[in-house]
Symmetry: C2
Subunit: 230 residues, 2 copies
DNA sequence: GCAAAAGTGTTTCAGGTACACCCATGA
DNA sequence: TCATGGGTGTACCTGAAACACTTTTGC
C-alpha cells in the first residue's frame, strides 16, 4: 500500500492520444481508425489508450504507438494536454496528446485490418471524433515551428532519401513551394547530409542520388553553438 | 448520473502547477511558496492545486492563479504535462503545468503571509520540490522561443513602460545584452508602441518616456500577414 | 529525339550587427 | 559642473530570395 496523502480529491481518467504522421505522395498523412467501441463507435479517431496506474504518460504513449504501428522507438514529442470537461462524450477524460513521426514503409500493414486503420492525407481530413481535429491542427502548427529549428523531419523518411523527396517533405509541412536551388544550397551547406553512391530511379529516368542524415555531424554542430534552420 | 463507458480503467489525481513569472530589478522572478502540508512540507514549491471533476484544466489553472496572486485574467499558456510515476512523493499525480506572466505590481502582497510565498529571482533559484525545477527551466526555454515571435513579454510590465525597461526585460529573458540602438530601431519600426508624454524619472534624472503596447495595431499587422519578431 | 525530373551559380536586396557621441537633469 | 542614464544615425556585411539553363536517360 502506498501512503495516501491527498484525500478526498477527485480522480480522473487519463488518456493518451497519438497523432501519428507519415509522408507519402507529397503529402502528410495521419493514421486514423474507425472506432470500435462506444461512444462514437464507427467515427474516425486518432490512436489512443488509457494511462495505467504503473506507467508514466510517456510510457503509455510509447505503448500506444507500438501497438498501433508495429514499430518501436518511434520519434514522438508531447503536444499538450486537452482537458475540457465535455471533450469526451463518454466520461470526463483528460487526454495527453503526443505527435509522432514515422517512416510509413516500416508500418505493419496487418494492423490495418485489425484496427480498421487508414493513413489519411491531411488535406482530405474527415471529421474526427471529439477534439481530435484540433489535435491534428495543433500538431501541424507545432511541426511547422519545430521542423524549422530541429531536423525532426527526417523521421518521416527512410534512412536514405533523395533531395527532391526531402524538399517535397518540407513543402508539405509548410504548404508552400520552395526554390530548388535555394533549398539544396541551404541544406547542403549545413553539412549534415551524407551523399551516397546509389540513385533512386523510381521517380525519374535520370535518378536522384540518395543521401542520409548524419546525426554525429549534427550533434557536433549543436555542440559548437550552431543551429539547424530551414 | 453520467453514463459510464470506460469501465475498469485506472483513474488518477490530476494537478495543475503554475510557474508564475514576474520581472523586477532587471531579472525574471518566479513565485514560490513554502509548502504547508505533507509530503515535503516546508520545501519550496510552485503554486498548484488539484483539478476538480467539474472544471477544465484551463479553469483549474485560472483558479490557482487567481488564488495565489489576487489578480484575475492573468496571461497564461500551457507548458505541458508531467507524468512520471514517481514525480510526486505523496501519490501518483499527473501534473499539467502552466506558465503565467504577471505584472508584479498588481500582486496582492497580503498573500505573501497567507501562503508564505516569495518572488525568487531565477538566477538564485533554490531547490524546489518534485520536478518543479524542471518546470521552471522548461518555462524559460518556452518563454525564450515564444517571446521571440509573440509580444507576450508586455504581460510582465505595467500598462506603461519605458524602452530601457523593455530592453532590460528582453535581456533578462535571453540572458544576453542587446545593443540599445538596434533594439529601439527594431521595436519602434514595428509600429506597435504608442509613445506617451509622461516620463519615468525613477531611474534617471533625465527620465525616460513611457510607451504603451497598442494591441489593435498589433492585431492589424498580424492580419496583414506580418510577424512580430525580436 | 523528346519528355521529365535532376542538378547547378549568380545577382540583388533587406535586414542584422557593430559602433560613438550628444542630451537632459538632479544633486 | 559633473555624474548618470536616455536618446539618436550610419556603414558594413551576411544571409534570404529571385531567377533559367544544362544534364541524364528511358521510352
Amino acid at each position: 500500500m502506498t501512503a495516501s496523502f491527498y484525500k478526498n480529491r477527485d480522480t480522473h481518467l487519463i488518456a493518451v492520444d497519438c497523432i501519428i504522421m507519415g509522408f507519402k505522395d507529397n503529402d502528410l498523412h495521419v493514421l486514423a481508425a474507425k472506432r470500435q467501441f462506444e461512444p462514437m463507435k464507427g467515427g474516425w479517431s486518432l490512436m489512443g489508450g488509457f494511462v495505467n496506474q504503473g506507467e508514466s504518460i510517456n510510457e503509455a504513449a510509447g505503448r500506444v504507438l507500438d501497438e498501433f504501428t508495429g514499430i518501436d522507438g518511434i520519434f514522438m514529442e508531447q503536444l499538450g494536454a486537452y482537458g475540457e470537461v465535455e471533450r469526451d462524450l463518454g466520461e470526463r477524460v483528460v487526454s495527453i496528446a503526443y505527435y509522432a513521426l514515422v517512416d510509413m514503409d516500416k508500418f505493419d500493414t496487418s494492423l490495418v485490418e485489425k484496427y480498421d486503420a487508414r493513413w489519411i492525407s491531411i488535406s482530405h481530413l474527415p471529421e474526427l471524433i471529439f477534439d481530435h481535429n484540433k489535435m491534428v491542427r495543433d500538431t501541424i502548427n507545432t511541426l511547422q515551428r519545430r521542423a524549422a529549428v530541429k531536423p525532426i523531419g527526417f523521421n518521416l523518411l527512410g534512412d536514405q532519401f533523395t533531395l527532391p523527396s526531402l524538399q517535397s517533405l518540407y513543402e508539405a509541412i509548410y504548404q508552400e513551394t520552395i526554390d530548388k536551388r535555394n533549398f539544396r544550397k541551404k541544406i547542403l551547406s549545413m553539412d549534415i547530409l551524407e551523399k551516397l553512391d546509389e540513385k533512386d530511379k523510381s521517380s525519374s529516368k535520370r535518378g536522384a542520388f540518395y543521401y542520409q542524415f548524419n546525426k554525429d555531424k549534427y550533434d557536433q554542430l549543436i555542440q559548437q553553438g550552431l543551429h539547424f534552420s530551414l
